[in-house]
């Protein structure tokens, strides 16, 4: 029977879970697949190079840990690495992906490796408050002088620079790409059928009215959405709050003053609960890309999603920007560029300090960002990257970014609140997406920050 393999698997899993709970550093070190692999790679390369891995001259090995393993993301990273290798031929890049959306597997690997003082050269992380765990333990190197030269400082906007700094103003991260969160994508023909003009949507309440019309006039779901995982609804609430009460209120709320803004918070939550009537019926059983596919098929009118959703439109046949789909800033959030960013950092006890600095400088360079972002479907945080490589949609997004008045961080994507607060807020929303009880979620939010 398969029982034997199965129960031994279980036992190993059990140990892993024990290790996972921080039980045994040593055992986690032995069993953690990632650790073993990377150790192995390091030793092999070391012997190939004649043991020069650690020396300053000659080739250095750069191990990059990241979670970009899906199609477009992977291509984007490969383009970036290719450019880096051309620029710095003396560095050997070890590409060590930790698959799992939004770093779910990466955290596990990085944290145990940092505790074991065996970190990779650099790893992917959300900037902003998500760095908090690492900053509190003092395991990130200050790169204010070594990487952030004047050219870089001039080219980044303030909101993004703030995210790259610790509370004392030391630069510790280099943002590589920026996604916009406050988009409302729509299927042009569904809106035309319903007689809704997207240009008139100037507030979340107006969006609610428009969805009512669409519901009455067409068979399509007024809004495609997924509630299976919490983050989509959380990011929707963030933008409803900005659209309804303004970006200053939002900033005040994520700073922890929920009770001071009770009316705004309650009203925005109520709007999300009202939106829910117009979601696709299977919102609770689909992933975000399945929901997004409904917009492509014409089975849904709107979707609120980060601009990574546009990548799916580009890949679909006969679904063109402007003629088939359009987008606008989420109603009420004109002038706001709600930033979701990825960055790379330099952990202490670094195996290859020089190579890591070279990598981080390259991530902050015009060339690196120009290679990476068009493929990833994001915009470069540097404002001086030429437009040529970016299609019409991303060029429009870049224009909005350059002219934006505010670049607030997000809760759902880690930049705006500490991991502890993010976890609490997600807990509140995980109940909300089931019971849509505004009072309950408001009470939990007041305790979450």
């Amino acid at each position: 029977m398969t029982n034997d393999t199965n129960s031994s698997l279980t036992r190993r899993r059990y140990i892993k879970a024990g290790g996972a709970a921080g039980a045994t550093i040593a055992i986690a070190g032995c069993l953690g697949g990632g650790d073993g692999d990377s150790d192995g790679e390091e030793t092999t390369t070391a012997s190939d190079d004649g043991g020069t891995t650690q020396s300053d001259d000659g080739g250095q090995e750069l191990e990059i840990v990241h979670w970009w393993t899906a199609g477009g993301e992977k291509d984007a990273l490969n383009a970036l690495i290719e450019g880096f290798e051309q620029e710095y031929p003396d560095v050997d890049v070890t590409n060590n992906p930790a698959p799992g959306g939004a770093g779910s597997a990466l955290d596990t690997e990085i944290q145990s490796r940092i505790i074991n003082e065996n970190p990779p050269s650099t790893f992917q992380i959300w900037p902003g408050k998500a760095l908090n765990t690492y900053l509190e333990s003092d395991v990130l190197v200050d790169i204010s002088d070594s990487v952030w030269d004047d050219g870089m400082r001039d080219a980044y906007l303030d909101g993004v620079k703030e995210m790259s700094q610790s509370e004392d103003g030391e630069f510790v991260a280099v943002p590589l790409n920026i996604h916009r969160l406050n988009n409302l994508f729509y299927n042009v023909s569904v809106l035309e059928d319903a007689g809704v003009d997207p240009a008139n949507l100037d507030s979340p309440s107006a969006l609610l009215d428009a969805m009512e019309t669409i519901d009455a006039e067409t068979d399509a779901a007024p809004m495609a959405h997924q509630t299976q995982a919490v983050w989509s609804t959380l990011q929707m609430w963030e933008d409803v709050l900005i659209g309804h009460a303004g970006v200053d209120t939002y900033q005040d709320v994520i700073a922890g003053n929920v009770a001071d803004n009770e009316t705004a918070v309650r009203e925005s939550l109520q709007l999300v609960a009202d939106f829910r009537e117009y979601f696709n019926e299977d919102a609770g059983s689909v992933a975000w890309d399945e929901a997004n596919a409904k917009v492509i098929q014409g089975n849904a009118a709107f979707i609120h999603q980060g601009d990574w959703a546009a990548g799916q439109y580009g890949a679909a046949d006969d679904f063109e920007y402007d003629s088939d789909w359009g987008n606008l800033a989420f109603p009420g959030t004109d002038g706001v560029y709600h930033v979701v960013a990825d960055s790379f950092v330099m952990p202490t006890s670094n195996p290859s300090p020089e190579a890591t600095e070279k990598w981080l400088s390259y991530c902050g360079s015009v060339d690196g960002q120009e290679r990476f972002n068009p493929v990833k479907g994001s915009i470069p945080p540097r404002t001086d990257v030429p437009d040529d490589e970016f299609g019409p949609f991303l060029t429009a997004q870049r224009e909005d970014f350059d002219n934006s008045d505010a670049q607030p961080p997000t809760i759902a994507h880690g930049t705006g609140v500490t991991p502890q607060v993010k976890s609490n807020v997600e807990g509140a929303f995980s109940a909300f997406v089931g019971n849509w009880n505004v009072d309950a979620v408001y009470n939990e939010l007041t305790n979450a920050f």
Binding site: R11, A20, G22, A23, S104, I115, W231, P419, S430
Partner: protein, 364 residues
């Protein structure tokens, strides 16, 4: 840990051994061969005492002693299990007594039960009956419900299947394979299958209900908090009742046919015969199946993680999920370890009374 218990249990099933073996060969199953082998050779070492009765030197005698001779059979396994199972559990307990958070090595200078106090205070916060409940309350409650309901349901379904398959039906092997097959599939695969089937719009379950005119029974199976945990348990029972069936089938084959005949001669009805005569003899099978099924219940983590990420919501949150969030989401290692210990005690607590009763009856 559990397979260790299993191993202890096995010799007690000596009576079933022969026929069990047979079933195994049929089904291409080699589950406990090595362990059984070890048990056998233990027995042989027992019997072999007379062979060493010459007058050798002390070292020679020591080398020939039963203890030393049996070493190769149990020592490697004991060391490995001791280090990787009990060692890990022990270390986990030690960490749960510290205040370890963040990304530095833990300090072992003060130990207290603070993490457990926090956990149980949060469980009771807001009252046990009224609300609002904390995540600790929901996770504990759901884990308990999952352990008990899933285990019992899988056992019952497995027993029924085993009795049906045991009644000399045609294509018996085929049926056995069909029922056992889901267990060989990864949770990642089955979770996605079930997500499709539970889809309220296009899923097979709601479509079928509509087809047979029961449209009023359609539900948002995995998003409605009322049905979420039930839906997950249903899928798990589907996946693992096949395992219970195989274990019971082995048990049924061990019961001599004359007992069936005797019951018939005594005029027992079919139901009465199984209830009074057959099922009471399946206790050992029940124990071993229940232990393994509870391990599978803990594996619900994979299933939930694929469907909902680390936040299944209060209605389906379990301790394993919460432990993962606390540890790797927000690096509260000590608290995560404490949750793991609670989970461990909970699992032991569910099975211990049954093991104890069996032990008293001398059936272990």
């Amino acid at each position: 840990m559990r397979s260790r218990i299993l191993r202890v249990l096995r010799p007690g099933e000596q009576a079933d051994a022969e026929s069990e073996q047979q079933v195994r060969t049929d089904g291409g199953t080699s589950a406990d061969r090595p362990q059984r082998g070890a048990a056998d050779s233990d027995a042989r070492a027992d019997g072999g005492v007379t062979a060493t009765a010459d007058q050798p030197s002390r070292a020679r005698r020591w080398l020939d002693s039963e203890f030393v001779k049996s070493l190769p059979f149990w020592l490697p396994a004991t060391l490995l299990v001791g280090l990787f199972v009990y060692g890990a559990i022990g270390w986990n307990f030690v960490i749960s007594l510290t205040d370890w958070t963040g990304l530095r090595q833990p300090t072992y200078d003060s130990f207290d039960f603070e993490m457990y106090e926090v956990f149980f205070r949060n469980v009771g916060k807001g009252g046990l009956l009224s609300g609002p409940h904390t995540q600790e309350y929901w996770a504990l409650r759901n884990t308990f419900v999952l352990l008990v309901v899933f285990t019992v349901a899988a056992l019952v379904v497995g027993l029924l299947l085993a009795i049906l398959v045991d009644r000399d039906i045609r294509y018996e092997n085929t049926f056995r394979t069909i029922y056992l097959l889901p267990m060989s599939l990864s949770f990642v695969v089955t979770a996605i299958f079930w997500a499709w089937m539970y889809n309220p719009d296009t899923g097979m379950i709601n479509e079928t209900l509509r087809l047979v005119g029961l449209g009023s029974l359609t539900q948002q199976w995995i998003s409605d908090p009322q049905f979420k945990l039930f839906a997950v348990m249903f899928a798990l029972v589907w996946q693992f009742s096949g395992y219970a069936m195989v274990v019971y089938l082995a048990g049924l084959r061990a019961i001599p046919t004359d007992q069936y005949e005797a019951a018939k001669v005594d005029g027992a009805s079919l139901v009465k015969m199984y209830w009074r005569v057959i099922i009471p003899q399946l206790r050992a099978s029940t124990t071993s199946a229940a232990v393994v099924l509870m391990v599978f219940a803990l594996k619900a983590f994979d299933f939930l993680f694929v469907l909902f990420g680390t936040r299944p919501g209060p209605s389906a949150d379990i301790l394993a999920m919460m432990m993962y969030r606390e540890s790797f989401g927000i690096t509260n290692w000590a608290y995560g370890s404490a949750i793991a210990m609670v989970l461990f005690v909970l699992a032991l607590g569910v099975i211990a009374p049954y093991l104890y009763v069996q032990f008293k009856r001398g059936e272990l």
